[in-house]
Amino acid sequence: MKHQVLSPLLVRSHQPVLVVGLVGALLACRPDAGLWAAETSTLDSLNLEAHGFVSFGYLRTWENNVYAADSTDGTTEFYEAAMNAIARPWDRVRLGAQLFVRDFGRYDNGRVELDWAYVDVQAHPLCDIQVGRVKIPLGFYNEIQDIDAARTEVFLPQAVYPTRLRELLVSVDGGKVSGRAELDAAGALAYTVFAGTKHFDNDGAYATYVGETARIAVTDISVGAVFGGMLQWETPLPDFRMRLTYYQSNDIEVDGPATAGPPLDVHFVSDSRSMVASLEWEPHDWTFALEYLNIATEGESTSGATVRPYEFDYNGGYASATWHTSRWLELYAAAEYRRSELLNRPTTYSWSWVGAVNLMPLRNWTLKAEYQFQDGTNSVLSSDNPQGINSYWHLFALKTTVDF
């Protein structure tokens, strides 16, 4: 077993304490746990394993700055790493925790976070219970947003998986129940339901992005309740599956002073609902995916004595094809569409054309390049582009990942 130490990162957050506590609890809760000396059999019976990955990348845009105020000059502020430990101390029980760190242009900046930490009890094929900080399904790939080694492209389709909203959508502090039922000739049905809440850091990517779009300096951001579910049909056609996902977050509250206009305190409160419809087909060396996301957010904003309704609608989707040409080479192409409306008035739209190549010299090492041609301004912020925004722009990214 290989172990990796992230000690320079650990000192920057209290969250690793949770991981240490989890590992300690693992050892303590074993009836036969004893001193470390001469207790290798105890470790054996925990079936403990550790894995991790580290990615480094380069990102450059042309015509508009995106994700960073100087992305047109190119940036290497584009890395992520994770380290996890998983134990299977009993037949039906699995415990695990993962730390995650990333720097993505202006977002997150090396902030260490507890990505997930759970106790999983497999009661029945129809009832797998996971409690803790758990990743949630939203579309096919929300749970693997951070796992560069498991996909061909550098960026998941931003039309459905906007990386600046990762913190809101990727996990929940609560629990989920999953199951799968075989339907014989009709294929199989799988489901997940989840519920809980979320904690946000004021310097996290989500708070930063909300502050940029709402033009406030966020001093407090929270969400009351998060819940939703996923239903997947694995059809009789081999490797063809369909999925519907629903995600609701209630009482999203954001506070802070305005950064533009009169110096007033601003308070946002809203509820947001997301739905994703997904299709995936993997015939032999190919993977085809088609996904559509709708987000509807309603609430109100209070600025000084003025209260205004807030209504935001978003529709986005993509079609992609991945060719697994050989053990060491994959090719990817996609078309994406995004459209936003504020108070029923169209604000921005985008068409994106994406191509990527993934080289895998070793099983645990990937080298990727991606090019995006963008027609539209959906993910472009005026605060990054004081000189004005161009409707046509380009993005190029390189990334390499090693995992173990």
Binding site: H51, D91, R92, R94, H124, Q130, A149, N364
Partner: protein, 155 residues
């Protein structure tokens, strides 16, 4: 402690490992190069090719009684060939799928063994384990063949 499947290794190590595995297989088995799926002898679960495929792809992770399936991937050539035939994917692509499961907190990686002999031992010891190996185990093994994917060629 058994080594979880990792992605580090050298070509030389693989060559040595494969050579040793093949030698052991020839010594310890009654019919080399048959491709079979094995479970612990006491397990009563029925396993067919579809279930085996779903287990390999990480879609099915529990036995019918809800207990955990522990997938063991043997490095012997017969096992690799069987995996490719069943899933339509080579081992590397299959493992990329497992990385999705692992790093999203939805499971643990399969356990790797250097060859069929170690896989047979592990299945005999570990409740809930299933392995695909390129040999047919001898009759006194504490394991049971649940699927024969490709019979050994006639002598």
């Amino acid at each position: 402690m058994r080594r979880p499947l990792t992605f580090l290794g050298s070509a030389a190590a693989k060559v040595v490992s494969t050579t040793v595995s093949v030698a052991l297989l020839l010594l310890l088995t009654t019919s080399a190069w048959a491709q079979v799926a094995i479970v612990k002898a006491e397990r009563a679960d029925a396993v067919d090719r579809d279930l085996l495929r779903n287990i390999l792809l990480g879609r099915v992770t529990t036995w019918a009684d809800g207990s955990q399936i522990v997938l063991i991937l043997s490095a012997d050539p017969g096992s690799r060939a069987a995996i490719e035939e069943l899933t339509g994917r080579d081992l590397d692509r299959l493992l990329r799928g497992w990385k999705r499961i692992l790093f999203s907190g939805n499971g643990a990686m399969p356990i790797s063994t250097s060859g069929a002999t170690e896989a047979l031992e592990l299945v005999a010891q570990r409740p809930g384990a299933i392995a695909i190996v390129g040999v047919t185990p001898s009759a006194d093994q504490k394991v049971r063949v649940v699927v024969t994917l490709k019979a050994a060629p006639p002598k």
